[in-house]
């Protein structure tokens, strides 16, 4: 719905659980909106159709889940290299291999650290509610156009299949740069080429520096995070996406027991909200990272806070029924809270 509101009229995808609600919805909606829905022959086919549609300047998207995202990495790398916008929704599941369809955050590294070849970055947004899924999808299309980059929305089966009230906010009004790079048939004007091959002397190095500079601007301007009860906290719990909902409940329970605990939730995983986290962590002195994996985002937390705070981790590898309960997290909070009193 967020995609349609954002003006996306082209969807290309291949079936995979747990994200099939998205293609099923768009296969009903897009034809009536003068758009196109294609069920592709594979995720590779789908990402390349997105590449093609996006090269014409159209707003287009694909969606998938972890094994399918692995197949899309080639195309994502080409899109990053050719600076093509496009939105990729990843309702991730557990792995490695076929794994399972349970909620999992085991693909943080894959999504945030590149995944495909060539050392690129793409913005990764991690909603934790239906409302955010909607709002951030619209935001993703804007970021994609603004920075000429693919953008990923990372959720899991908890976020992907959650049923919650939604306010269908209108698309935000954001000034976007004129395109002028899109292929259109040259119409008597200059030839335009969308490519990622740079063989000229120094050309590729310059291109990579250009991409690097773009990532620095994103780090400066596009970090989003949310804080809850962090002002006087002595322990900050940090988590993204679905686990942040459980952590929120656990933090509320800890507060009821008199513990000064807060929650820090990165909404953008790339760019990672380093500064905001470092500030909150510096005040508290201690951070407890919780993830639905055995420790991935915790590396970015450590890099962000440096020596300003002590960092500990709690997480479990994915598997059926392995979502931690609020009580389980509360117990971990209690242990980590000991010795923080000043």
């Amino acid at each position: 719905m967020g995609a349609v509101e954002a003006g996306c009229r082209y969807y290309f995808g291949y079936p995979i659980t747990p994200q099939s609600d998205i293609p099923e919805y768009l296969s009903r909606e897009l034809p009536g909106l003068n758009g196109e829905f294609i069920q592709a022959e594979s995720e590779i086919g789908a990402i390349n159709m997105l590449l093609g549609a996006s090269a014409t300047g159209a707003r287009a998207m694909t969606s998938s889940s972890s094994p399918g995202i692995s197949l899309k990495q080639e195309g994502i790398s080409y899109m990053a290299g050719a600076e093509l916008p496009g939105v990729i929704i990843n309702i991730s599941r557990s792995g490695p291999g076929l794994g399972g369809i349970d909620a999992s955050q085991s693909d943080y590294f894959q999504c945030v650290k590149g995944g495909g070849h060539g050392g690129y970055h793409i913005p990764v947004l991690a909603p934790n509610s239906v409302q955010e899924m909607y709002d951030l999808t619209m935001h993703a299309f804007d970021l994609a156009d603004l920075y000429r980059t693919p953008v990923m929305l990372l959720g899991d089966s908890v976020i992907g299949q959650m049923k919650e009230a939604l306010v269908p906010n209108p698309r935000p009004v954001r000034e976007l740069p004129a395109k002028g790079w899109e292929v259109r048939g040259k119409s008597g004007a200059e030839q335009r080429v969308v490519k990622s091959l740079f063989l000229g002397d120094g050309e590729l190095e310059a291109h990579n520096w250009h991409l690097h500079a773009k990532y620095q601007v994103m780090k400066e301007k596009e970090c989003i995070s949310e804080e809850y009860e962090t002002a006087d906290a002595r322990l900050i719990v940090a988590g993204f996406g679905s686990v942040s909902r459980i952590a929120h409940t656990a933090v509320t329970m800890a507060r009821a027991e008199g513990m000064k605990v807060g929650l820090f939730r990165p909404v953008t995983l790339f760019p990672f909200p380093e500064k905001a986290l470092a500030q909150a962590a510096g005040r508290a002195g201690k951070v407890l990272v919780v993830e639905l994996n055995t420790g991935q985002m915790v590396e970015d937390v450590r890099l962000s806070v440096g020596a300003a705070a002590q960092v500990s981790f709690y997480g479990r590898p994915p598997g059926a029924g392995s979502l931690p309960s609020p009580e389980e997290l509360l117990e971990v909070i209690r242990k980590n809270y000991e010795g923080t009193a000043r």
Partner: protein, 246 residues
């Protein structure tokens, strides 16, 4: 004085990087000729593939999108669906189209995408140094089939034009060669016809062009040119395999 032979308008006035005796250059010219014939240069979006023809945009004066290896038909699908008023063609080698890109070509063809595919079959991976391709002839020696292609282990060369002609979405499928003036004239006619299918919105059109790769065949240009007729055409017959009258 009247000029009777000139560079097609859709082709740039530059030197190509192709090896002496390579047929890619001739095929480029025929493709440009067909674009000129229909006057579609200004609304054409070419999709380049990975292989010796990757520099499509350096030779054709048209807008171009570069596709990952084998994915050109999927990229072209996205382009054409988002911009149906454009004229879209892919230009792909045999490694690109008949090996790594088999899924993409079969399904784009089967969906009946309104695009044209120019398929250059030189029975080898030209750009990477002459390895065995899906179209390498049985017995043919390449850098990765030093004892010759062995049918029992490597399978038989794929006849793409016939294979695609079986699919419901394909409106036009043909094979041509450019090894003699007669064949060049035939190829010109067929490529024009294939482009005409798209111009008239009749659906997916496909032209396979047999092509010489003297460099990787280890032959001089004349010998390589002769091989097309002596060895390739007997296995890859020329002709129009499907021509749907819409």
């Amino acid at each position: 004085m009247q000029q009777v032979f000139k560079r097609p308008q859709s082709l740039k006035d530059v030197q190509t990087h192709f090896c002496p005796g390579c047929h890619h250059g001739t095929i480029h010219r025929l493709v440009a000729d067909a674009m000129d014939l229909y006057g579609v240069q200004d609304r054409t979006i070419g999709v380049a593939s990975v292989g010796c023809s990757v520099f499509l945009y350096g030779y054709f004066d048209i807008d171009v999108v570069e596709a990952p290896h084998g994915r050109a038909p999927a990229v072209a699908t996205g382009v054409k669906r988002a911009k149906p008023e454009s004229f879209v063609f892919t230009y792909q080698g045999d490694g690109d189209l008949a090996a790594i890109g088999t899924a993409e070509i079969i399904h784009a063809a089967n969906r009946g995408e309104d695009i044209t595919v120019v398929f250059v079959n030189n029975t080898t991976y030209g750009m990477t140094g002459g390895q065995m391709a899906p179209t390498t002839l049985v017995g043919q020696k390449t850098s990765t089939s030093p004892y010759g292609r062995d049918k029992s282990k490597d399978g038989s060369p794929i006849r793409m034009a016939e294979l695609l002609a079986q699919l419901g979405g394909v409106a036009y499928s043909a094979r041509v060669a450019v090894d003699s003036p007669k064949h060049v004239l035939e190829a010109k006619k067929v490529i024009r016809e294939a482009f005409g299918y798209q111009v008239e919105g009749k659906g997916f059109s496909f032209v396979e062009v047999l092509s010489a790769c003297p460099t990787n065949w280890g032959m001089n240009p004349l010998k390589a040119n002769a091989r097309v007729g002596e060895e390739m055409i007997p296995y890859f017959p020329l002709g129009v395999f499907k021509k749907e009258e819409a």
